[in-house]
């Protein structure tokens, strides 16, 4: 228990603080003790497969669902006792949930009307948000007369017109086609930067999370697997799940052999593999049970075109080549195991490889990562 501190009295640098939130639906544990902090003004994504609890967490923050235990603060103030309609958050629902009996402008004005603002204020703010989201020409239409993308904009406008402390987005782009999604991803990102509102965005699309977010929490089975910037998650995934969910990855079991400085040597099915680790990584490697290590290599971090002098080198045979336009995917047999390698087709150097060719694969020690499981 913390003594009374400044957090209970004034605004803090944290927009949302979750502490050990749990929520159980029958036998399913939707939230199994989630603790995370969202900073003020950041674009935060909750990323995970369906059923991982990300939407439940969002609903708990919105007040549409209550946790079984744990604590929640919004803007530094305890929020669990506030009902949904008193919380300084607004939600963009996955289904948009626009009021079918109200026009676009009335939908957007709804929140302001509930706050009983003077009507000229309502009009002014509604109009300015409609201009911001470029839906002015739709003002008099009803939701059933709108396309999916237009509905999405209206739902967004209806939420941000209230100037919430935190905007919650529940897979806001999920129902749209790919091209429109890409377009709106950028727009959402710009909008967030312009408004400075904290965004918490739920998605199962790792691409979307990486493109838009300042930080991402990867969730799995009701837990936060890893929380970090998109770069951190990609470069240093902590678990097998994260490495697999964000990008592609080759996994190997290794056995700890020796350590020289920041480099750990391991025996793997590929052969002897030198791995450059951070100090935390080295500690993890040295404490591994029976010296068993779980290692990962991103396909594009291995090279078939010769490497630097310090790289790990393995001899292998190309099993399959899949040409994919911008890049080519190679399946390389090394010893008894297989390594997937991706090369960018830059056109500068003719790779000129064919299935059946023998190749030398080089893997820089810094590009191998050690996983916790």
């Amino acid at each position: 228990m913390q003594p009374a501190d400044t957090k209970t009295t004034g605004p803090s640098a944290l927009a949302v603080e979750c502490q050990h939130l749990t929520r159980r639906f029958g036998k399913v544990e939707a939230l199994a003790g989630v603790s995370l902090n969202v900073r003020r003004g950041e674009f935060f994504s909750l990323l995970g497969p369906s059923g991982c609890g990300k939407t439940t967490l969002l609903r708990v923050i919105a007040g549409l669902d209550l946790p079984d235990s744990g604590d929640l603060r919004i803007g530094g103030l305890p929020a669990l006792r506030l009902p949904a309609w008193k919380r300084p958050v607004n939600t963009v629902f996955q289904s948009y949930a626009l009021f079918p009996h109200l026009s676009v402008s009335e939908n957007i004005a709804f929140g302001l009307r509930m706050k009983r603002l003077p009507s000229h204020d309502i009009t002014r703010r509604t109009v300015s948000v409609m201009e911001l989201t470029q839906i002015m020409p739709l003002a008099g239409r009803h939701p059933n007369e709108l396309s999916g993308g237009q509905r999405q904009r209206v739902a967004l406008a209806r939420a941000i017109v209230n100037e919430p402390e935190v905007l919650l987005l529940d897979e806001p782009l999920g129902a749209l086609d790919l091209k429109l999604r890409k377009e709106l991803q950028l727009e959402l990102h710009h909008l967030q930067q312009r408004l400075g509102i904290t965004f918490i965005h739920v998605t199962h699309d790792q691409d979307e999370a990486m493109t838009m977010s300042d930080r991402v929490a990867v969730m799995n089975a009701g837990r936060v697997e890893q929380l970090g910037t998109p770069e951190e998650l990609y470069e240093r995934p902590r678990t097998r799940f994260v490495a697999q969910f964000i990008g592609a990855c080759n996994f190997f079991e290794g056995k700890f052999i020796a350590r020289t400085g920041g480099v750990v040597e391991a025996e793997t099915p590929l052969g002897r593999l030198r791995v450059e680790l951070s100090s935390a990584g080295i500690e993890l490697a040295e404490q591994a049970e029976q010296g068993r290590l779980s290692l990962g290599i991103r396909p594009e971090r291995a090279s078939l075109q010769g490497g630097e002098s310090g790289d790990n080198r393995f001899l292998g045979r190309i099993e399959e080549i899949i040409f994919n336009g911008a890049e080519s995917h190679y399946r390389v047999q090394i010893g008894k195991t297989e390594l997937r390698v991706v090369e960018l087709n830059t056109g500068r150097r003719a790779v000129g490889l064919f299935a059946g060719d023998s190749v030398e694969v080089s893997v820089p020690p810094a590009n191998v990562f050690l996983l916790e499981d």
Partner: protein, 321 residues
């Protein structure tokens, strides 16, 4: 020439059962939408309506402009006297009896509809919230009173509300009613019976509407700062408005013309349109005046329906510049 006999296989069957669908701007339409081929199927119903509804209605309208002979026979001479009487022109100056009956009937219809709405809303939400297999049971229970004739149900109310009935007895024991007093005739008894009689007409359309309610809109409303009550008002009520209107009309129209219940439970002071019409066609033997009452009631009800649709349509757009 002997035509080869087709084996009555599945193909022959299929051809016969093929449904012809007309396609209109790329959208399939119901088969009857464009062709009038099915129109003759409406023939029996049309004939029925013409012979037993439209022709008698025309007759009643014509009759309302005729005169009553001294012996109660119909004298076919045009006059507007029946309507003048209905509006309050009596032999001795203004007579409020007839206009009062009309107003009272509309009032009773409106009151019944309102009471049914208030009583029916919770029931509709309750049924909609039941597990699937209990819903049909609940709906059946709602409809069960119809299995008994209205007349019998109304007589049953007489028994229940009689001085010997347990209701009056209980109230008398509690000191709220003088012993030996009945709870009828009177307005409370009439309204009680009306409510019970018409409640199913309200519950069924309401329930159909409530069943379709999109509850995510309630969450959206609460998320946007609406208290639960305001969320209900702004997000749920608009969704069940069609059911409320349908139920309201279904209750209001027959309740306005009801004559069995006011007759048996209301006594002389509670005469409604139906009773007035019945009296003119029966005891008073004044068919022209009875017809005038019926026609006036019809016009007033159509007018109130029209007004209602106008009002509900008008309150949609709150325009923004």
């Amino acid at each position: 020439m002997a035509a080869p006999i087709q084996p009555s296989g599945p193909t022959g069957f299929k051809r016969r059962r093929r449904v012809r669908r007309t396609v209109h701007f790329g959208e399939p339409m119901p088969p009857g939408a464009q062709t009038f081929r099915a129109a003759w199927l409406c023939g029996p119903a049309l004939a029925w309506v013409t012979v037993f509804l439209l022709v008698p209605l025309g007759f009643v309208i014509a009759l309302s402009f005729a005169q009553r002979g001294d012996a109660g026979e119909i004298v076919w001479r045009f006059t507007g006297e029946n309507y003048a009487r209905l509006a309050g022109h009596g032999a001795l100056g203004f007579d409020a009896v007839q206009p009062l009956i009309l107003a009272r009937s509309l009032g009773v219809g409106l009151a019944t509809a309102t009471l049914c709405l208030l009583a029916g809303l919770p029931v509709a939400f309750f049924i909609a919230g039941l597990p699937r297999r209990w819903k049909s049971v609940a709906v059946t229970l709602v409809v069960i009173p119809f299995w008994t004739n209205l007349l019998i149900r109304t007589y049953a109310w007489q028994l229940l509300l009689a001085p010997e009935g347990w209701l009056a007895q209980t109230l008398a024991t509690a000191g709220l009613l003088p012993p030996g007093e009945a709870l009828y005739p009177g307005w409370p008894a009439v309204m009680l019976a009306m409510l019970c009689d018409y409640l199913p007409f309200m519950i069924l359309p309401l329930y159909a509407s409530v069943e379709k309610v999109d509850w995510s809109l309630t969450e959206a409303a609460e998320d946007l700062g609406a208290s639960p009550l305001r969320a209900f008002w702004h997000a749920v009520l608009p969704q069940i408005r069609p059911g409320m209107i349908a139920g309201g009309v279904l209750v209001f129209l027959p309740a306005t013309g009801q004559f069995v219940i006011p007759d048996l439970l209301g006594g002389a002071k509670v005469a409604l349109l139906g009773n007035a019409v019945q009296q003119q066609f029966g005891a008073s033997r004044d068919w022209p005046f009875g017809s005038a009452i019926a026609v006036a009631a019809l016009v007033v009800m159509l007018l109130s329906l029209w007004l209602h649709t106008r009002v509900t349509k008008g309150r949609r757009e709150v325009a923004l510049p």
